[in-house]
């Protein structure tokens, strides 16, 4: 016991240090906002913006829970045609960057677009069509593209589930519906809550999609004040308001998780035994998955493909730009390093808390996830501010040149900002897996004299591996498509695929932007394929077991 006991304070301290590192840029923004002089500009109609934000969040929460949770249940608990392929394809809508999504959806589905045009062609000019540019329109599109967060985490929860509990309930006479609601849903609740929290934070910080749908959220207010009055101070002060929403989301997540703790006994579960669907049900299940995938992924991809082909037909030389490779390598490299860092930090935090930590460490871990709720541009400014302070301090200490051009002269600034922003998805995924590991496992290992490090590598790591894989996918995809941070902090000559898309899209060269946008989607398939391979391995293990 003694070796374990001496190891613990170190791990608790590690949790606090990580949290401080990650919280610093966000805190810098808040402090800078509060202490810079000048009256805060409030956007006119702030009240309406708050209500709109609440409405959008509620709508997207319901939408993603239904779509993401429902699909996770469908693909893990049932067998139907194409299930194995669909199970991982359903993650793909995540790969579509928000700054191209809005335009692609509108130019496809709005009144002047091809879909409504075709409808009018078939049904006549008078046919009624819903207003696409509206709050409900935004809710539908965001639900169709953000559901993978809930889907991935919920699916993971169901895969990790040991079938024992569900089977026991069934044997004891519970109907399938009752067993689902009384056993499976409570067990999956931490994962559902974690996924939803991520969706809510994405919704909060989204600026691009809502703008296209004429939905004015608080984030749009922040942008209006910053761009409109050329006053970054006011904008940062206002982004504190966005943070308040984020705190509410995280509090709600804790509530949703509930006080109850559901741990698996023994080794990681082998998942539910899937029921084979037959007849119309089986094809219905495939059709449902395909429909969601079609609306959230295939249609925008086809539209992009059409533009890319148009562009290639007009100017085939654009297809073989040698810079493609350079940009792609940059994107993947930064994303991979960021993902590795986020996973390592999440593991350290989850492990530290599991070894038994005080309230301080627990709150610190919570604090570290706020970065995700802060818009990328604000995190970027926060990193600049942090290094400004560091620079001043170093000069004060007599170091000539201070930090030099460390932030914007190398990729370090981008990586730091990525960790600040993407630690949340990594930690949520890893933590949701930790939540299902029974504390008795850790305690037994400690009683048997295992050192904290040994517990990490031999007990915790193997048990939370599915969470780690999910974290990898989430952070990689998020990082590959991330734009405002790279745009603000990149050094000269460092261009990523997302910057490349934006350069073209911001000037409305959609035909030319289509190809790099497809490259982002393709790049996102890499981690997804990786995850898929892992899932297959797990399934194979189960069959052997």
């Amino acid at each position: 016991m003694s070796s374990a006991a001496t190891g613990r304070p170190v791990w608790s301290a590690a949790v606090v240090v990580i949290a401080v590192l990650v919280a610093t840029p966000v805190a810098a923004v808040v402090v800078d906002g509060v202490f810079t002089t000048g009256a805060t500009q409030l956007p006119v109609g702030l009240g309406a913006m708050v209500l709109t934000t609440l409405g959008l969040m509620l709508g997207v929460a319901v939408g993603t829970t239904l779509v993401g949770g429902g699909l996770a249940w469908l693909v893990t608990a049932h067998r139907f045609p194409l299930r194995d392929v669909l199970a991982w394809l359903l993650v793909l809508p995540l790969a579509m960057p928000a700054y191209i999504l809005g335009f692609v959806f509108l130019s496809t589905f709005d009144s002047a677009g091809p879909v409504q045009g075709a409808l009018r062609g078939v049904l006549g000019d008078g046919v009624w069509t819903p207003e696409v540019r509206s709050l409900p329109g935004a809710v539908v599109v965001m639900s169709l593209t953000l559901y993978p967060y809930v889907y991935l985490l919920a699916r993971n929860a169901l895969v990790e589930q040991s079938p024992g509990t569900y089977d026991a309930a069934r044997t004891l006479g519970a109907s399938r519906r009752r067993a689902f609601w009384k056993v499976l849903v409570p067990l999956a609740r931490p994962s559902l809550a974690a996924g939803l929290a991520l969706v809510m934070m994405e919704t909060l910080t989204d600026f691009a999609t809502v703008q296209y749908f004429n939905v004015r959220t608080v984030s749009v207010g922040v942008y209006l004040v910053w761009r409109g009055s050329f006053d970054p101070g006011s904008a940062t002060r206002l982004s504190v308001l966005v943070l308040v929403f984020a705190v509410a989301v995280l509090a709600a997540e804790r509530l949703l998780r509930g006080r109850a703790r559901f741990h698996q006994q023994g080794a990681r579960g082998r998942g539910l035994r899937p029921v084979t669907l037959t007849g119309w049900r089986s094809w219905g299940a495939s059709a449902l998955c395909l429909a969601v995938l079609g609306a959230g992924f295939v249609v925008p991809v086809l539209r992009l493909l059409a533009w890319a082909l148009e562009d290639a037909a007009a100017d085939p030389s654009g297809l073989v730009d040698p810079r493609f490779v350079d940009y792609l390598v940059n994107s993947l490299l930064v994303a991979a390093i960021a993902a590795a860092a986020c996973i390592a930090l999440s593991l350290a935090m989850g492990h530290g808390l599991r070894l038994g930590s005080g309230r301080l460490a627990r709150s610190a871990a919570q604090l570290s996830t706020f970065g995700y709720a802060v818009p990328g541009a604000v995190v970027g400014i926060g990193v600049l501010l942090t290094f400004d302070v560091l620079d001043d301090a170093l000069r004060g200490l007599g170091v000539p040149g201070g930090t030099g051009l460390l932030v914007t002269g190398s990729v370090l600034g981008i990586l730091y900002a990525y960790v600040v922003r993407f630690l949340a998805p990594a930690y949520q995924a890893v933590d949701a897996s930790f939540a299902k590991v029974s504390p008795t496992m850790t305690l037994s290992a400690m009683t048997l004299g295992a050192s904290p490090r040994r517990i990490l590598t031999r007990v915790h790591l193997p048990l939370v591996r599915p969470g780690v894989m999910v974290a990898l996918v989430l952070v990689m995809i998020d990082a590959v498509k991330e734009l405002p941070i790279v745009l603000l902090l990149r050094p000269f000559g460092f261009t990523t695929v997302s910057v490349w898309v934006f350069e073209l899209a911001s000037e409305n060269f959609w035909e030319q932007a289509a190809l790099p946008a497809l490259v982002i989607v393709a790049a996102a398939i890499v981690p997804v394929a990786f995850l898929f391979r892992q899932v297959r391995l797990l399934d194979a293990l189960h069959r052997v077991g």
Binding site: L224, G228, F230, A336, L385, G409, V411, L487, F492
Partner: protein, 343 residues
């Protein structure tokens, strides 16, 4: 369970390899920097123009593209250590702001003073306009007779009830919309601007978040009239000459059509201000066509002809650019738009 360790090791090897392959440019070391470094919120065809400049002068140029708000913050944060020599934006308001925040150095250049009209440059020479864009009225000729427009005050004329349900405009988050309204405030005061915006709203203006969507909507007959930047129309016409959209030069018998500029100023802590000045002079004079033509923009230099496609639309009178108004009144413009419920 040795798999995670193996995966991590593989990842490390891959990253190291990639670093070596990419020649460490990734870490900001390696590559010899160019003679001039430009922070630019403008991307379009900069590469070609700069390459031509290098051919003529031997001065190499590289640029970093970003959004003007972000680039200005970055300049401020980097302070004296900034690598940037030139700051280029797509909005007069931002140039005015950068100058006000003391980030730009004054230039004394007879070439620039001659090439750029007085209202398109800073009186103290801290920035110069280099390309001109007009924000004017476009219409669907099947639905609108251009005689229907008010030739004196075209933007305000769209508040007439006859335009009820026929208007499409850009959303209020766009700087295009904001600087148009700021110029209306500058022209006749805030109350006038409020009345105009309210009139558009009362006419049921359909607000879209993209100029191309506006042009598509006019072409499809979803709206009869829209306000867009002239070069988007030129670009769409180039791609599809049958596009059913015509331009109309706004307020020709009044204050003139609303315009804004792309422009640049020399960064205060630039270590090559002479070469930076040379680049600015080239962009405004010898390289002016290079710089503006591909994007169908109007030259600021009165001695340079616009490219043929937009030249076909004829000459037009423009509203004088008051950069201070675009910079200083922009916040008011945002409020005016919000108060009228414009969205």
């Amino acid at each position: 369970m040795r798999r995670p360790v193996r995966t991590a090791a593989l990842l490390c090897v891959a990253v190291t390899l990639a670093l070596v392959v990419s020649g460490c440019g990734f870490l900001g070391i390696g590559d010899e920097p160019a003679d001039l470094q430009v922070y630019s919120a403008r991307h379009y065809d900069l590469e070609e123009a700069f390459a031509d400049f290098t051919d003529e002068t031997g001065i190499t140029v590289e640029f970093l593209y970003g959004e003007d708000a972000g680039l200005l913050e970055r300049l401020k944060s980097e302070g004296e250590q900034t690598p940037a020599d030139l700051f280029m934006t797509v909005d007069a308001g931002y140039l005015w702001n950068a100058a006000r925040q003391d980030e730009l150095a004054a230039v004394d250049s007879p070439v620039l003073d001659e090439a750029v009209p007085a209202d398109l440059r800073d009186p103290q020479g801290r920035w110069y306009g280099l390309a001109l864009r007009a924000r004017t009225v476009v219409y669907n000729p099947d639905a609108v007779d251009p005689a229907e427009f008010d030739p004196q005050d075209t933007y305000a004329g769209l508040t007439d009830p006859k335009w009820q349900g026929r208007l499409c405009m850009r959303d209020e988050t766009a700087s295009y919309t904001q600087s148009l309204v700021a110029s209306l405030i500058d022209l006749r005061g805030r109350e006038y601007a409020s009345r105009v915006v309210q009139g558009w709203v009362d006419n049921g203006v359909e607000v879209m978040s993209n100029d191309i969507l506006l042009l598509e909507a006019v072409d499809a007959g979803e709206c009869d009239v829209a306000i867009t930047n002239h070069y988007y129309l030129a670009r769409e016409l180039e791609a599809d000459p049958d596009l059913n959209v015509e331009p109309y030069w706004a307020s020709q018998e009044g204050a003139g059509t609303h315009v804004n500029i792309s422009g640049a100023g020399i960064v205060k802590s630039s270590d090559s201000p002479k070469q930076a000045r040379r680049l600015m002079e080239w962009l405004a004079a010898d390289g002016q066509s290079d710089f503006v033509d591909a994007n169908h923009e109007y030259p600021v230099n009165p001695d340079v002809e616009p490219e043929p496609l937009i030249a076909e639309w004829g000459e037009f009178d423009r509203m004088p650019v008051n950069a201070e108004a675009y910079g200083d009144l922009n916040a008011q413009a945002v409020d005016v738009l919000a108060e009228a419920g414009y969205r």
